[in-house]
């Protein structure tokens, strides 16, 4: 960026400066008083306490202690100072003639006392009681009870309004995080993460080999000090165009002055295998094959003719899964002198997967330094360097589904030790038999190594008179290398004779420079804080990939070893830049009435010159009713606050103003093709949110309840217009439809959080945290009322999820079953498919017969065809919740964490795929439930009937009717679940026992179990399905809530030890 020192202030700039001009308010100046300073410490530890509220009793004059516990306040000699901090007993000190008052605050473990916490908000911090917008804090201590490979995993069930699903159970696998509903139809719904000031917005899923990796994998969860989830419009709108999907603020640990603390933690765990799903064993498989072949009138292979003589064959699930270890070392040092403090930590995490070809490794190093350079200047730096290694074969090659589908007669390994595979016993149909999943997960190498450097420096300048100026430069630099190697292999009759290697390098850079001016001052009963800021940020990414074939060795994975003659390569680059001006005013009157007004102006390079700037205003107000005199008479109510807020957030999308020409190969050199229609009128997407909420504290805050209700209306939704195919906008060589601002959608929802101290006596405490939330998304407008946005998974028999106006997006689309035909009369009275002659299929064994599936004639035309498809399920839950119970007694602590989801549907594609009995002829297994296929008998009057009445599995047939082939509601299952996510029992070794030596201060040991039990009706492995991240995924076309054979989450048993030196 070039800095322009000379440019005059133009008209355009003036209105952007408007928020800053709020500062032009000139302030009343308070009368001079005696200046008092001092330091507040925790006597048990000796360290300074940060964020202690120091207040002149009976007035609103107050200040906060800094990181070292120092404070300064003006007061009169007759005043009394109140020192309060969450978790500590409040203390009062008379001022007298002192100018220095040092205080030691005793820890108060009997109260939640969280209200006086200072919490992070966008570009600043506030006391929790002064919040007027909806935001939830995540209890970082509670997170540490669970084993989290990546930070998003830690969010699940911890905060109301945050819906988290793990897309793949593979170690380090990607996670979907939705805050307050679905905000985009074909863009990303992931929130903005702000990690120590670095803004990271995970985009849409990357295509291909790395689609199941997690973009935030480089962050060590153990370094996290605080997580705040900004949800309300007044809180998120300060991030303007980046805040629509919610904002997750993360700060990492920083050092405190005092003796250097050394902390070492070690965790070891064993990941269990999942409970096996019921598929046929070899005997059952052979029998079904005999039955099917008898029905078809063809001979069965000799090998299957005597099922009783066969064993149970290969148990593919047993072969695929194996118990796998995980472990993590974490070492941190923190401390420093008064003027310089640091936090240094290093981590090594190694998690093997329960399937070969999955796994995750991370090494990371963090250094956070703070320095009080001058009395008026404070410098800080953060640096995080990490390397992660993902193994992505298992998810990418779909081995879970293949293990469920491959026939039990195929051997994992042959007698000679070579890999087994479909062979001649399946005759000419080997092409339909899945490749040996155990072999594939061993043979194909899909590795993804990322290195990331994330950090920044900042300077705080105290300008005096309540003014502070902060400037910070933050950056995120990352490289990624994906290596996908397909070796030569022979799996029975399936072979790959040419080895190929694709190597892809990605480099991404992001920087952000912010300058922020803050003014904070209290005037009697008025508390005022004003902030104004300017920010510039640029993100760039570059991808280079190459492929060669003809590798003769699997030992060296480098393109250089391949055949240079047959090589392909590709590269891409992208960039966006944004400049912003924003300002916020917080005003509190008499501690009762809280007002926050904010405005942000964002200019984005993704729009044409005339539409670049978007204005995002917001405002909130809160009334602390509990501070009113008439409420003081109700002692049970310790806190009652009503909040109302409204605000606008935006989305800059991914560009689309230009009409790009992309190169495509031709015999005459590069040809150029129009790749997307440009739209030079493109402008900001706008989401207007209204939110009302309350905070209620009862019984000295032993019970704290927080509730919020919101409506989010998104207009000018940035999306690729779902125009008809006749515009030439679908498939290879198409011109992608333009990005338009035509559509709109709406989210309505609620969230509740309840925190209670159930018991706190005789050293026994029991605390509960519970949160529950729900949302409903509705598309309110597309470019035409008949417009349809489909997500079609061609790799899953064209499974379709559809979004239309007036409905929740991405509902499953398919046929409805109405049982099976019970009699010929039933057939004749029902709609059936048409035959090749255009007439109804006859009621006959080679047409539609008793025992065939009866599909619902949705459009009532008497014919079953694709026009009878309808909405058959919704992947989004009605509500979801999380509950933590923490018990402590003496040195023991027990933490029990439960998560759940209710009312979401899952399309069990794995069960659908394994439902067609005829597939046994193709080397494909089926689920055991299919043995209960309709047996057709003939009654005394010669009429056919279903012998095993009540079954809904159709008969064996030549399948003119389309039994088991159509996508139907039979495979839509209730995805509700309650999961015992984590149980951990810990013990702190009594000080007395370790007092004799001088090396170790503290030892905590714990055993835990994660994903221990799940209550659900879902028939697959795991009801937590998330979004599809297999090899065929494309951005904006991810199947959601479809179990395609998702890598399941399984129980993990952990042991951990934490030692403090």
């Amino acid at each position: 960026m070039r800095i322009n020192f000379t440019q005059n202030v133009g008209r355009g700039r003036l209105y952007r400066m408007l928020p800053v001009c709020l500062l032009m308010l000139c302030f009343l100046n308070a009368a001079a008083q005696q200046l008092i300073s001092g330091r507040i410490t925790d006597p048990s530890l000796g360290n300074g306490l940060q964020g202690v509220n120091v207040q002149v009793k009976g007035t609103t004059a107050a200040t906060m202690s800094d990181a070292e516990g120092n404070y300064t306040i003006e007061a009169k000699p007759g005043d009394i100072l109140e020192f309060s901090l969450a978790g500590y007993t409040m203390q009062e000190m008379p001022v007298g003639n002192s100018t220095r008052i040092d205080v030691g605050l005793e820890e108060d473990i009997s109260s939640l006392a969280a209200l006086l916490d200072v919490v992070l908000v966008g570009y600043g911090e506030l006391k929790r009681i002064d919040l007027s917008s909806a935001q939830s804090s995540i209890d970082v201590d509670a997170i540490n009870y669970t084993f989290n490979t990546t930070i998003e995993q830690a969010l699940q069930g911890r905060a109301a309004g945050v819906y988290v699903t793990q897309n793949s159970g593979q170690p380090g696998g990607s996670v979907s995080v939705n805050i307050r509903g679905i905000n985009s139809v074909n863009g990303s719904n992931e929130p903005l993460y702000v990690i120590d000031g670095v803004q990271i917005a995970p985009g849409t899923v990357p295509f291909g080999a790395t689609s199941s990796a997690d973009p935030l994998a480089g962050i060590n969860p153990a370094d996290i000090d605080n997580i705040e989830v900004l949800q309300g419009p007044s809180a998120t709108a300060i991030y303007g165009s980046r805040g629509t999907n919610g904002v997750i603020l993360i700060t990492t640990k920083r050092g405190k002055a005092g003796e250097v603390k050394v902390h070492y933690g070690f965790q070891y765990g064993l990941q269990n295998t999942p409970k096996q799903l019921p598929v046929l064993n070899l005997r059952e498989y052979a029998q079904l094959r005999l039955d099917q072949n008898a029905m078809d009138g063809i001979a069965s292979p000799v090998a299957f003719q005597d099922p009783a003589a066969l064993g149970t064959g290969t148990n593919w699930q047993k072969e695929l899964y194996k118990t796998a270890p995980l472990m993590k070392h974490q070492l941190s040092l923190s401390g420093g002198r008064e003027e310089t403090t640091f936090y240094l930590s290093g981590e090594y995490l190694n998690q093997n997967g329960i399937i070969t070809g999955s796994g995750f490794d991370r090494g990371s190093l963090r250094l956070n330094i703070d320095n009080q350079t001058r009395k008026w200047l404070k410098l800080g730096a953060t640096l995080n360097v990490s390397q992660t290694d993902d193994k992505l074969t298992a998810t990418n090659e779909n081995v879970v589904l293949n293990a469920l589908r491959i026939a039990p007669n195929v051997a994992v390994k042959n007698l000679d030790g070579s890999w087994g595979g479909a062979d001649a016993i399946n005759e000419d149909n080997v092409q339909f038999t899945p490749p040996n999943p155990v072999a594939i997960s061993n043979l194909i190498q899909n590795k993804y190594r990322r290195r990331q450097m994330l950090g920044g420096v900042n300077a705080d300048i105290d300008l005096g008179k309540g003014f502070t100026f902060t400037t910070s430069v933050n950056g995120n630099f990352g490289t990624g290398n994906s290596v996908y190697f397909m070796p030569m292999y022979t799996l029975g009759e399936q072979t790959n004779e040419v080895a190929s290697l694709t190597s892809t390098d990605v480099t991404s850079t992001y920087w952000n420079w912010n300058q922020l001016l803050k003014y904070t001052r209290n005037f009697g009963v008025h508390e005022l804080s004003i902030m104004a800021s300017h920010e510039a940020q640029v993100a760039q990414a570059k991808t280079l990939s190459g492929t060669r074939v003809g590798f003769v060795t699997s030992n060296v994975l480098d393109l250089n070893v391949g055949d240079s003659g047959a090589s392909t390569n590709d590269s891409h680059q992208s960039v966006w830049a944004m400049e912003s001006y924003f300002s916020r005013v917080n005003y509190i009157f008499n501690k009762k009435y809280l007002v926050q007004l904010a405005m942000r102006a964002d200019g984005s390079s993704n729009f044409g010159a005339g539409n670049r700037w978007g204005i995002f205003p917001s405002g909130s107000a809160a009334w602390r009713i509990s501070e009113e005199p008439f409420m003081k008479s109700i002692p049970t109510i310790s806190e009652l606050k009503l909040r109302a807020e409204a605000g606008v957030t935006g989305n800059q999308g991914n560009g689309g103003t230009y009409t790009p020409m992309s190169p495509v190969s031709s015999p005459w050199g590069s040809g150029f093709i129009t790749s997307q229609y440009g739209n030079n009128t493109l402008k900001w997407e706008q989401t207007t949110t209204y939110n009302v909420g309350f905070n209620l504290g009862l019984l000295s805050d032993r019970i704290h309840i927080e509730g919020d209700f919101y409506i989010k209306k998104t207009n000018n939704l940035l999306m690729t217009n779902p125009i008809p195919d006749y515009m030439g906008t679908t498939g290879n060589g198409s011109i992608i439809a333009p990005t338009e601002n035509i559509s709109a959608l709406e989210n309505r929802g609620y969230s509740f959080t309840v925190n209670t101290v159930n018991m706190d006596q005789q050293g026994f405490t029991w605390k509960t945290g519970f949160n529950i939330s729900g949302f409903r998304t509705k598309i309110t407008k597309l470019y035409s009322n008949s417009a349809i946005v489909d997500r079609v998974s061609w790799y899953m028999n064209n499974f379709t999820q559809r979004a239309v106006v007036g409905q929740s997006p991405w509902q499953f689309y398919g046929y409805q079953e109405e049982g099976i035909f019970q009699s010929v009369a039933d057939i004749n009275a029902s709609a059936v498919p048409l035959g090749t002659d255009g007439n109804r299929l006859p009621a006959a064994t080679n047409g539609v017969w008793v025992g065939d599936t009866k599909f619902k004639d949705v459009n009532g035309d008497g014919v079953i065809n694709e026009k009878d498809r309808t909405f058959i399920g919704n992947p989004f839950p009605k509500f979801f919740f999380g509950m933590t119970n923490t018990f402590t007694y003496k040195g023991f602590d027990l933490n029990v964490f439960i998560t759940g989801s209710y009312g979401n549907d899952i399309y069990n594609y794995a069960r659908y795929a394994g439902s067609n009995q005829a597939n046994v002829n193709l080397g494909l297994n089926v689920f055991r439930e299919d043995l209960n296929y309709a047996r057709i008998g003939t009654d005394t009057e010669g009429n056919p009937y279903v012998e095993n009445a009540g079954t809904n599995i159709p008969r064996l047939s030549t399948n003119a009717n389309g039994n088991n082939i159509r996508i139907t509601n039979r495979f839509v299952e209730d995805g509700s679940y309650v999961r015992l996510k984590n149980v951990q029992l810990g013990y702190t070794i009594p000080k007395a026992l370790i007092a004799r030596q001088r090396f170790v201060n503290d030892i905590h040991v714990a055993i835990g179990a994660q994903n221990l039990a799940t209550l659900t009706h879902y028939k697959g492995y795991d009801p937590e399905v998330g979004a599809y991240v297999g090899s065929n995924v494309a951005a904006g076309n991810q199947a959601i809530g479809v179990d395609y054979g998702r890598y399941p989450l399984t129980p993990v048993y952990t042991f951990s030890i934490q030692v403090e030196l």
Binding site: M1, N4, D428, E497, W668, F672, I673, Y726, M727, S786
Partner: protein, 551 residues
């Protein structure tokens, strides 16, 4: 007072500070880094021609990959299966059939890209680009657009004519145009190309005047019947343009039919219009049909070759006389030997070996297949390495001289029951003689139809030959289709002296139907339903078609 002044002054200073650190206006100007934009393109002749080059491959990819033979051969009755392409084979192509939507959107992609080029050339071309280049590129685009519309009108009947997509993107009122006006649009586009294009191509494989004339002849021949009786003037035009090509183009038939379908013979003397694929190019610029048609990965060397279930229909097989050289170039019979394609197999000791292809006996459970050979080029080593997974570089013929010969014969025959016209016989017999058959002295419509079926099997043609017939004699088309045997059969080699061991190369084959399967054709089969999702999102397509108003 002074304090307030001081405060205001410091605020003013800080405000100034913000202004100073503001970014330059150009900070937010970020053009795409990895693509050029249409406004900056079209500055040189090379760029203008680069914009029409993709019209020869990627835009046709989705049609070529499954629909060309799914509609052209499976619907037409030349290809059969028991598992793949069943909607087309069993004549129940519907609104959800994959090949239907693939063809629909792919053909409209051709049109969309052609329109973009035509309009962008008119809008953005630099003045330094010669007019002749602009005309050449425009003619190429109009040719491709016309060709795409010809497939659309033959499959779906009335379809919307769109000439400026960019202007109509938001238009929800688009309706279909009548079959007559779509055909008129096709003729105008291709006639423009025939008039405008020079006799020499801008580069090998690009269009020439003769390519356009040949296609125009075929278009006239087909359009001749749309009123229900064949238009003499259209037939005359067909004969005229065909003769122009025959006399002037310099194109000649390849001596050996089998040579037509080798990658090394791309852009040979017989080809007039061909899609130009690149085996290792951008995805979508390669020919992927081998993956779908080859009977096994044994002959592709990659894990593709999914065509084990596909084969010639019995209907077609019984038309081949045993000395027809086209059979082996089109379909593989068990025991056939191809020296230029290799297969992976096991030797007597059970070790993997790669050898010249000896087509194995296909021991399917209740039928065998005459596997597909045409456009199956084999393994990398058979093609100078130019084969990858799902990728070959063999061009797809859209028009070759043999087609123009037969179009000419059919145009000359016209509405007569037979002809002995010397010129018609000359070119008709040229096709037969090349195939190893004997010359005839008189030809009927049925002779030409049969000849076309054998000559162009697996080139996606047969269905369109039925469409041409159906325009003016629907009953005959229904009868012919309904009599086609599309069922299962077994094909058994006959060895010399009955001895497969000593004389491994079969001398003949016996083909026997094991399960008869016939379809009932009717008028509704000649209008493929518009893909259901398309109809749902564009309900105006259900309205009665209106005539297209030409400028």
């Amino acid at each position: 007072m002074k304090k307030i002044y001081m405060t205001c002054r410091s605020v003013a200073v800080l405000l100034l500070g913000f202004i100073v650190i503001s970014c330059q206006e150009s900070f937010l100007d970020r053009e795409p880094l990895d693509t050029v934009t249409n406004e900056d393109f079209y500055q040189t002749s090379e760029q203008v021609l680069a914009a029409t080059a993709p019209l020869y491959n990627i835009v046709w990819y989705d049609y070529n990959t499954s629909a060309s033979y799914g509609i052209g051969d499976a619907r037409g009755g030349a290809m059969t299966s028991i598992a793949n392409q069943m909607d087309n084979i069993l004549f129940r192509t519907n609104g959800a059939t994959e090949e239907n939507s693939n063809a629909w959107h792919s053909l409209f992609n051709v049109i969309g890209q052609a329109n973009a080029v035509i309009n962008d050339i008119a809008t953005y071309t630099s003045a330094s680009v010669p007019e002749s280049t602009k005309q050449y590129a425009t003619a190429e685009a109009r040719f491709m657009r016309g060709l795409a519309y010809s497939y659309l009108v033959q499959n779906w009947g009335a379809v919307p004519i769109i000439t400026n997509n960019a202007a109509l993107l938001q238009d929800t009122s688009i309706t279909r145009n009548t079959v007559e006006t779509v055909w008129e649009f096709v003729i105008r586009d291709i006639r423009y190309a025939a008039k405008t294009l020079p006799t020499a191509a801008a580069a090998e494989g690009r269009l020439t005047k003769y390519a356009a004339q040949g296609m125009l002849a075929k278009m006239f021949l087909t359009r001749a019947g749309i009123s229900g009786t064949r238009s003499e003037s259209d037939l005359d035009s067909a004969a005229y343009y065909a003769k122009q090509v025959i006399n002037n183009s310099g194109a000649t038939l390849l001596t050996d039919y089998e040579e037509l379908f080798k990658m090394k013979n791309n852009n040979n003397s017989e080809g007039l219009v061909a899609l130009q694929w690149i085996y290792n190019g951008t995805w979508g610029t390669q020919n992927s049909v081998q993956s779908y048609l080859a009977y096994s990965s044994d002959i592709t060397s990659f894990s593709d070759g999914w065509g084990g279930d596909l084969g010639a229909s019995y209907y077609l097989l019984e038309k081949y006389v045993s000395n027809d050289k086209r059979r082996k170039a089109t379909f593989m019979y068990p025991g056939d030997h191809y020296s230029y394609i290799h297969q992976k197999t096991k030797n007597a000791a059970g070790d993997d070996i790669v050898q010249e292809l000896h087509v194995p006996q296909n021991n399917g459970s209740n039928s065998t297949r005459a596997w597909i050979k045409k456009y199956v080029v084999g393994r990398p080593e058979d093609n100078d390495g130019k084969v990858l997974y799902q990728r070959t570089g063999i061009n797809t013929y859209m028009l070759r001289l043999a087609d123009v010969y037969l179009v000419y014969a059919e145009a000359i025959l016209g509405t007569q029951s037979s002809t002995s016209d010397g010129e018609a016989l000359k070119y008709f017999n040229a096709v037969r003689l090349r195939a190893g058959l004997t010359a005839v002295t008189s030809i009927t419509w049925d002779d030409i139809f049969e000849e076309r079926a054998l000559e162009f099997a697996m080139e996606g043609q047969l269905w369109y030959d039925f469409v041409r017939l159906h325009y003016y004699d629907p009953e005959k088309a229904y009868t012919m289709l309904s009599n086609q045997e599309r069922g299962y059969y077994t094909i058994t080699p006959v060895y010399r002296n009955g001895d497969a061991q000593t004389y491994p190369d079969p001398i003949d084959w016996t083909v026997a139907v094991t399960l008869s399967q016939k379809i009932t054709a009717s008028a509704s089969n000649f209008i493929i339903p518009i893909p259901t999702t398309e109809l749902e999102r564009a309900p105006n397509l259900k309205k009665e078609p209106v005539p297209y108003v030409f400028d």
